[in-house]
Amino acid sequence: MNRSMWIGVLLAGGIAFSVPAHAGDQGAMLGNTCAGCHGLKGASAGETMPIIAGLPRDFIYTAMQEFREGTRSSTIMGRIAKGYNDTQLAAMSDFFASQKWVAAAQPADQAVLKRGEKLHLKRCEACHRDNGASQALDMQPLAGQWAGYLRIYMDTCRDTGWKNRHPNAMTVLCNDLGAEDVSALVQFYASQNK
């Protein structure tokens, strides 16, 4: 079927899915094994499970390697990442990076948004540009990620000393922020649902 026919079918059927997965795609084959947890093509609908659809390719690839080597802490990703070699990780990273980033549809607590925005501009915007939407330097966007997950990332770092690759994590994410600051920040990112 050629491209214009596809478009015809898509229009006629009102089908919401984008370009059909090609059977010859090993990245999709690998990536599909993640969907049971991370959602269809990585677009998580579970409010604590990170959206991985549309994350920067190099972030996914490096994060998976770090999970595998244990230099990035996790509950389960370490056990999963150990199942794949670099070629496989590259293929699945390409697959997820080529999906569209779809911000989580989540409510945000209006009462704390101002405080969140202020904190963000003061301490986070320097790196997490564009109100946290930026993917510059292969960073994960904060805007539109599930607030539940952002909170876990920050809490585990502070309370449990979990390893990640955040610059000066202990100062930036922990010592300088109280629990209410964290709440306000993640609500602010939740409200930036682009």
Binding site: T33, T75, K82
Partner: protein, 424 residues
């Protein structure tokens, strides 16, 4: 390869939509024009139907399911333990129909592998080019004397979610404090290997808050079970003296029951209980037997690169009904369905097969804020499905309460995602 000779060719032509007549059939079009019938709208079947339709919007995909709504077994132990509702487990097929999948609510009574048709109770026959069968399990009613479908109205199995789940939850709720619940755990292989033990936890959790003098007695055929160390640790931590497990070697195997007197007989002992939950031994879903897809083990042998039956060509079997080293779980069924879809597409499009990627994971909730998990990553090695060495495994024994809490939180997001992937 897609068989464009004889009847197959005519069949393909027969189902070309009018609008497509201007185009000469090519291998790539064969997929778009093919008819696939999926039997069973559960964790395996729904994913197969949905992924086929997603990849080939023109394909005629028919999903035949006996029940109007699907009730999920995952998280049903929470209903048994009074922590959740049936509503949260119940899903309709409307969104699948909206995506263009032909949803037929009827019971499949026969599959003709030669004539390539599926016949339903209502009488209609559905022709197929490729068929996918994911009917879940059936019970071996004969293995425990006195336990049959009628007995399950008094001694529920609650191992197919639905009215049985509600019945067991009700019996536990109505039981007097100081009573005993017996769980009879089945022999391997059975769906959800940690299921009976998770259930024991969640019943004990309910007792702890509402009927603190009550007990759960697990009578087991087996001498070991899934995630055993983690379960025993949680029993000691949360349910001291409330859960007792009797292994097969210690006379745990239930031989006979009497629903009238609520007696449960092992070889040497008679146990009386207030609530009896018999989880029977299992085999492939009945339709797999009727279609001749099973071997003498009572399960369906398949080729792991395609999930095509090794008995009948062009019929694929997924999920609980298959014989495979993968645990019988929702996650396995989901993962297998995607490998099967890729193989069906490759065949219809005349493309080479991809290397299959198969994963199982399973969360269990042992108490509020106490979750554990297991993961398995599989690869095909010389035609055999094996676990990737060094990967997967269970949650660490020495994990902190914070870690256990995180896993319980992730368990709910897992459920949300795997069910949204199907029904969303």
């Amino acid at each position: 390869m897609f068989d464009l000779n004889r009847r197959g060719f005519l069949k393909v032509l027969g189902c070309i939509p009018l609008a497509a007549w201007g185009i000469a059939p090519r291998a790539a079009n064969a997929a778009a024009m093919a008819r696939v019938v999926v039997v069973g709208g559960g964790y395996g079947g729904v994913i197969a139907a949905r992924y086929l339709k997603m990849a080939e919007p023109g394909m005629e995909v028919t999903l035949i399911e006996r029940n109007k709504n699907y009730v999920s077994c995952p998280l049903s132990n929470e209903v048994v333990g009074g922590e959740s509702s049936m509503e949260k487990l119940t899903f309709g097929y409307d969104n699948l129909a909206k995506q263009g999948i032909k949803v037929v609510i009827d019971s499949v009574e026969a599959i003709d592998p030669q004539g390539r048709t599926v016949r339903v109770k209502g009488g209609k026959s559905y022709p197929y080019d490729q068929c996918v069968v994911s009917p879940g399990v059936d019970f071996k009613w004969g293995n425990i004397k006195g336990y049959d479908e009628a007995a399950s109205q008094t001694m529920p199995h609650a191992y197919k979610a639905g009215p049985q789940t509600v019945l067991l939850a009700k019996q536990i709720k109505e039981m007097k404090d100081g009573g005993t619940v017996i769980i009879s755990a089945p022999d391997d292989p059975f769906r959800c290997p940690p299921g009976p033990y998770e259930r024991a936890c969640l019943i004990a959790n309910y007792f702890k808050h509402h009927k603190p003098r009550s007990k759960v007695l697990i009578l087991d055929t087996k001498n070991k079970f899934s995630k055993e160390g983690l379960f025993k640790q949680a029993w000691a931590q949360h349910y001291q003296g409330m859960i007792e497990w009797v292994s097969g070697d210690n006379d745990g195997a239930v031989a006979r029951v009497d629903p009238k007197t609520m007696a449960v007989y092992t070889q040497l002992n008679t146990h009386k209980a207030d609530v009896v939950n018999i989880i029977p031994d299992q085999q492939a879903g009945k339709i797999a037997f009727l279609a001749g897809l099973t071997d003498k083990s009572g399960w369906c042998p398949v080729d792991f690169a395609t999930f095509e039956s090794t008995v009948h060509k062009n019929i694929h079997v997924l999920g609980d009904s298959t014989i495979s080293p993968m645990p019988k779980s929702a996650y396995s069924a989901n993962s297998q369905a995607k490998v099967c879809v890729a193989a069906i597409l490759a065949r219809l499009r005349n493309e080479p097969l991809l290397t299959p990627a198969l994963t199982n994971t399973c969360y269990s909730i042992l108490a509020p804020d106490h979750g554990i998990s297991v993961a398995h990553i599989f690869e095909l090695k010389d035609g055999k499905l094996v676990q990737v060495p060094g990967a997967g495994g269970v949650s660490p024994m020495d994990a902190s309460p914070a870690f256990r809490k995180l896993e319980s939180i992730y368990a709910y997001s897992w459920f949300k995602n795997i069910t949204t992937e199907m029904f969303g």
